[in-house]
Symmetry: C2
Subunit: 384 residues, 2 copies
């Protein structure tokens, strides 16, 4: 079997999980031939696990080494676009961990580089798109089963993190190291799913609370109000401070309502479109007849494995990706819009003023806290 | 058995439901001795049902007639405070339908009148406070089981109304007749429960959409963001346009989370307070141990009957009311704050600038639409 020679840049929390998966044979078309990490302990770890792999300190060294066909970028967010661009320029396929980057201007450069190399595969690690519940919901929305979008609400507050988590890495939860908090680290999946399912809103009004529940400088509590082009509205609430927290997505259309909660998809199907009913019903309080169903899905939720295997299959045989890398800018636009709205204290339109966002972020970075480096790798199982 | 002689002012949708309940013997300590309504058809209806009752056109006539000891006010909202004040001045006990009034300045006058007559009973029809689920939740919060309030979210979008509903009365859904839409007519219960359970927020930022789903001039779609004194935040979403809609209240504290949905109360109890855990746990992703319970309640939900029977018992024997009339201003303050925030396009602090609210409302009334009068009484069963 032909295999894609993969170089992994960053073998920290999530990078090491990818290494484990591949070593345990779950990605049969991928072979790790190179790895890079700035930490000696991690280079030693990979050296023991993969004695034949080429090991580097810097991602750029790995990219220039000719030891692989594709790279998987799993380093702090700011470095994603730069490494991806370097990869494309060296003729490498690129799989990028979420988020696509920290600010959209940076990601636009990455997309431009990808567009200059249409022969190369560019994937984004939106592994939550492989969840059967969201896949099924997407299929139902695209098939018109919900009618026209009316309202959405996502309470995604089950991203609990302790202070220990934030103290575990110098880059974590700083403007300079990570460029944001819960929006940049935990929520890229939900922000991507939100735009994948509902489209991007045209306006965002958000409150991002910085260091509300933890001793950090970035946001760990966000409430955002969204407005879509057709007038539909939405609410997005997230935090790393709530225990036990909630993950509940509700999407209401004119033909029905869908709720994703606790790995279940429930659908309420109206017998008639609400818009027609409203103006034709001769009673005051009566709703259209409605049938509630526990929606069956295929039950599959292959997560990172599906993304990586589709990446290999796309490279080898042109099969579809789970998420094209170019789509990464959409969820990031939403994230940047929430930050910008909060910083300005007013609603912002999408696309946002991307230069203004960068200017304000740069100002935040200038005064960003310096944190002590600690050498901690935490198991991420069940946390993404 | 001693009975309270009750005069009902307004025998429309809800007033006629009260009449039915009393006539069917569900309020054994109340006897309807008088009724008033401006519509002839309704006066005829009450005359047939209660041949011995004194029947009037105007509430003021009933109040001055000496035919009752207490009045139940069930007319359009603007008239609530004026009739209540007249009632107190004639030595009558007062039970007022929700909302307490349309604007807080008006309600302050009503409270002042009540305070001048401490011997008279003043109750507000907050019948949802009798729901076993909310009563139990209130008991748990007051008992400290949730810890300190962190976040609340109420999706109360199951107030579906057709265009027919809005066309059924000339006063309905106009600034001049009703003074507001879903916030004034459907949501007073939830706004009262919200402040009863969580306290009043200190700031409100809201978007009220006027005539979004119906041909009306007042709001039928609202999303509000709330901030409480201790930093806790909340979201309140309501509409009369969604079918089938949702009624889901989630309240999260530092010791646990409670969800009220589909007449069930579910509680997640943390083994340890999150605030202690966050800074003492030596793992990054771990939450406090948590136990989930389907909370048992007494199963009782006596609604209007409980409010009316408690009103009679308070008059006769000083037993506790379900809701003192003076508390009606709190939910109305929240409602007025949502309107004011939306009209001004910015966050407002509570207590709001009450004169500014009245000035803006008066401006809205000046251009309020004239609607044709129709003589419709709709069954309200199951709608409150």
């Amino acid at each position: 079997m032909e295999k894609v020679r993969l170089g992994i840049i960053g073998v920290g929390n999530i990078g090491s999980a990818h290494v484990q998966n591949i070593l345990e044979g779950r990605c049969p078309e991928l072979e790790i031939t190179a790895a890079a990490d700035r930490r000696e302990s991690r280079r030693e770890w990979i050296g023991k696990r993969l004695p034949e792999a080429a090991v580097f300190t810097e991602g750029e060294e790995l990219i220039a080494s000719g030891t692989c066909d594709a790279i998987l970028i799993a380093v702090p967010h700011y470095q994603h676009p730069g490494l991806a661009i370097a990869g494309f320029e060296h003729g490498l396929h690129v799989m990028c961990e979420k988020p696509a980057g920290v600010y959209t201007l940076q990601v636009r450069e990455m997309i431009a580089a990808a567009d200059r190399h249409p022969d190369l595969t560019f994937g984004m690690m939106f592994n939550q798109r492989t969840n059967c519940v969201y896949r099924k919901l997407k299929e139902m929305i695209d098939g018109g089963e919900l009618g026209e979008l009316r309202r959405m609400s996502w309470l995604i507050t089950d991203w609990y993190r302790t202070q220990y988590y934030y103290d575990s890495g110098a880059w974590r939860a700083t403007w300079n190291g990570e460029g944001g908090g819960v929006l940049l680290n935990q929520c890229p999946h939900q922000l991507d799913l939100l735009q994948w399912l509902c489209g991007l809103p045209v306006a965002v009004l958000a409150r991002c609370y910085e260091g509300k529940w933890h001793d950090i400088e970035v946001e760990d509590d966000v409430t955002a109000f969204l407005e879509f082009e057709n007038g539909a509205t939405g609410v997005f609430v997230t935090t790393t401070g709530d225990a036990p927290g909630t993950n509940r997505l509700e999407i209401t259309g004119t033909r029905g309502k869908a709720v994703c909660e606790e790995d279940q998809l429930t659908f309420w199907r109206n017998a008639e479109d609400e818009r027609t009913w409203c103006f034709s019903c001769g009673e005051g309080f009566r709703k259209p007849d409605c049938e509630r169903t526990a929606v069956e899905t295929d039950g599959k939720n292959p997560q990172h494995l599906a993304v990586l295997n589709a990446f290999a299959a796309h490279i080898l045989r042109g099969e579809p990706l789970v998420a094209d890398g170019r789509e990464g800018i959409r969820g990031l636009m939403l994230s940047n819009a929430m930050h910008l709205s909060s910083w300005l204290g007013r609603e912002v339109s999408l696309p946002i003023d991307e230069q203004l966002f960068l200017d304000l972020l740069t100002e935040k970075r200038r005064t960003s806290r310096r944190k002590e480096e600690r050498d901690v790798t935490m198991p991420t199982e069940g946390s993404y």
